[in-house]
């Protein structure tokens, strides 16, 4: 099936009738995910500078209200229906990875789950890649998003529409009147996009990395790091959070908010001890989490190769350099 581009607004308006629609719009030329107002032109030229992870894992979210005098606790949950349109394959994979973290291995995060259940993803396969994109090195393809509810492929004047799930089917039903048969003529080189930027994510990378836990290369790699949380906060798969409380006399609200393992206070314990006292340990931990620990636990690499951290790092650190060093077995010099 395909959706003619001139029918896109109509299609989005139909979605908007059933749920909140979030899609990339232009912010000074750069696409950012915004709640769609029904008017703004979707900006689909490139991937967004921030991933859509806050749809599921908001920067700050209220967890529960409490009262210390009465002992009452009431949980707060948001079960808004949300449809994200124009999400790229890398970010779709990132949601699958977040699902592992929040929903599997013995614990279900109810806040995440409620939002996840209410989320529908309409992915758009890439027609070109940014120079920092390396998703195809990380085992996914810019041309497809098997984890999305619907995948669109740009075919010039139309999108092919492929539904992967029941939620996807629901949408194709909603769009029924707008969809037409595929014409079969691919006007753009859709489906054959590759990343120019490559990373050496060999199969045995996790083991190799863990084996080099004490390698002096970590010192070298982290020297230029500023210790800020930029990479964590723009990463689609970083999911660390801190829990805090806002007290108002006897009552109050507990909330959780994004945290970054790159911060100096992140791993400090109550007594003051910090097992990751310097940025060397912190950077190592972050890389190992992305490229090794998550694999060992869930069988997939956490990093999806979106390249945002490579693009935005204030010190121009590059995670792929670490992967190269490991894969080539060389020492990091200079």
């Amino acid at each position: 099936m395909e959706l003619k581009k001139d029918k896109l607004t109509e299609a989005l308006l139909l979605l908007r009738g059933a749920s909140n629609v979030i899609l990339p719009v232009s912010n000074d030329g750069a696409p950012v995910f915004k709640l769609w107002d029904g008017v703004a032109e979707p900006c689909l030229s490139a991937n967004t500078s921030l991933p859509p992870k806050d749809l599921l894992f908001p920067r700050s979210e209220k967890m529960y209200d409490y009262n210390v005098k009465t002992g009452n606790i009431s949980e707060i949950s948001s079960n808004k229906k949300q449809t994200v349109f124009g999400i790229r394959p890398c970010d779709v994979r990132s949601i699958e990875n977040l699902d592992h973290a929040f929903l599997e291995s013995g614990y279900t995060d109810s806040y995440y789950k409620t939002r996840r259940d209410g989320l529908t993803t309409i992915a758009l396969a890439c027609t070109e890649t940014a120079r920092t994109c390396f998703c195809d090195s990380m085992g996914l393809s810019p041309n497809d998003a098997p984890g999305a509810d619907i995948v669109l492929n740009d075919r010039g004047d139309a999108y092919t529409v492929k539904s992967n799930t029941e939620k996807g089917e629901e949408i194709t039903r909603l769009w029924k009147s707008l969809l037409s048969k595929e014409t079969g003529k691919a006007s753009k080189a859709s489906g054959s996009v590759v990343c120019d930027f490559k990373a050496r994510a060999d199969k045995d990378l996790p083991e190799k990395l863990v084996a080099r836990f004490d390698d002096p290369m970590w010192d070298k790699l982290s020297k230029a790091c500023l210790g800020c949380g930029c990479c964590s906060f723009i990463c689609p798969t970083c999911y660390c959070f801190d829990i805090g409380r806002e007290n108002h006399g006897a009552s109050g609200t507990a909330f959780r908010c994004w945290d970054s393992c790159m911060f100096s206070d992140y791993s400090r314990m109550a007594g003051g001890h910090d097992p990751r006292p310097s940025k060397k340990e912190r950077l190592r931990n972050r890389y190992l989490h992305k490229l090794a620990y998550f694999n060992l636990r869930y069988g997939v690499t956490l990093c999806v190769g979106c390249g945002r951290c490579v693009d935005k790092c204030p010190a121009n650190l590059d995670v792929t350099r670490a992967m190269d060093i490991i894969s080539e077995g060389v020492r990091a010099d200079g």
Partner: protein, 279 residues
């Protein structure tokens, strides 16, 4: 360009070979032609990794705080902005002059927005100067232009302007971590239990971070522009600190930081006849 680069490499190589410096901090290549990354070279043979081009943008001085108690001197390529940052760190008692070897490299201007405010291309202090000083860029007529633009708004407009600005702040603290005036051992913002700064991401807490940070560094800001360069959300961070500098300039006359390592900061002293509006 390459001649200067060669001089830099030779100088670093000699420093390292002679054991004068334990390592030298400069700029090195990345996978992209238009980007460099700070590098830390210990081995004299590695001095060839230093590059000098219009993309050698990052200020290097803040890295000195990672190694405040070095066994040997730290070599540092020093432009005008680095030297002012070093004065900042010296004045704030964070580093010792004898622990650094400053290799003066007059700057020819870099491809970065942060350089538009630059008024000091040549290092103010250095141990060696590798080539003849450059002409300083013409005085930035509009040092406080954008502050004036914001001042011209109504209170509500200003609130909306900053509110929307801070709505996009992701509190990654890159601005703080790169800032030579942010040299606290532990930032107030990392101590949410004190109550000065909530950790949650909200307009209010983001704004409080922005204003508090501005107040903490405002009278010590060297206007290097690194905070804005590193901001992943492209926020106009200097719009806050420069407001403070502008006010100080208006209250007591010419005020600029980092020009020496001894002048007391504006908020660290007073005059009996300071302007008073609180009668």
């Amino acid at each position: 360009m390459s001649e200067k680069q060669e001089k830099m490499r030779q100088c670093a190589e000699k420093l390292l070979r002679d054991g004068e410096a334990g390592y030298v901090i400069g700029w090195g290549e990345t996978r992209f032609d238009d980007r460099t990354t700070p590098i830390f070279v210990e081995d004299p043979a590695g001095a060839g990794a230093f590059v000098w081009n219009e993309y050698a943008i990052n200020s290097l001085a803040k890295y000195l705080l990672d190694d405040k108690y070095p066994d040997k001197k730290i070599g540092l390529f020093t432009r005008g902005c680095e030297s002012r940052a070093i004065n900042r760190l010296l004045k704030d008692n964070q580093i010792k002059r004898e622990n650094v070897y400053l290799i003066g490299v007059p700057c020819d201007g870099k491809k970065s927005d942060r350089c538009t405010l630059c008024r000091e291309r040549n290092p103010i202090l250095y141990d060696v100067l590798l080539w003849t000083p450059e002409d300083d860029p013409p005085p930035a007529a509009g040092r406080f232009d954008r502050v004036k633009d914001i001042e011209a708004m109504s209170p509500d407009e200003r609130y909306v302007y900053w509110g929307e600005t801070y709505d996009s702040c992701i509190r990654c603290y890159a601005c703080r971590n790169v800032c030579p005036a942010c040299n606290c051992r532990e930032c107030y913002a990392d101590m949410s239990k004190t109550g000065f700064q909530g950790k949650q991401h909200s307009r209010s807490d983001n704004q409080i971070f922005g204003v508090t940070r501005a107040f903490h560094v405002g009278d010590r800001c060297i206007e290097c522009g690194e905070c804005e360069r590193v901001c992943p959300m492209n926020l106009p961070i200097m719009g806050q600190t420069q407001k403070i500098l502008k006010d100080i300039n208006e209250l007591t006359g010419e005020y600029e930081c980092g020009m020496d390592a001894t002048s007391e900061n504006y908020l660290g002293r007073f005059d009996l006849d300071d302007k008073d509006e609180f009668m």
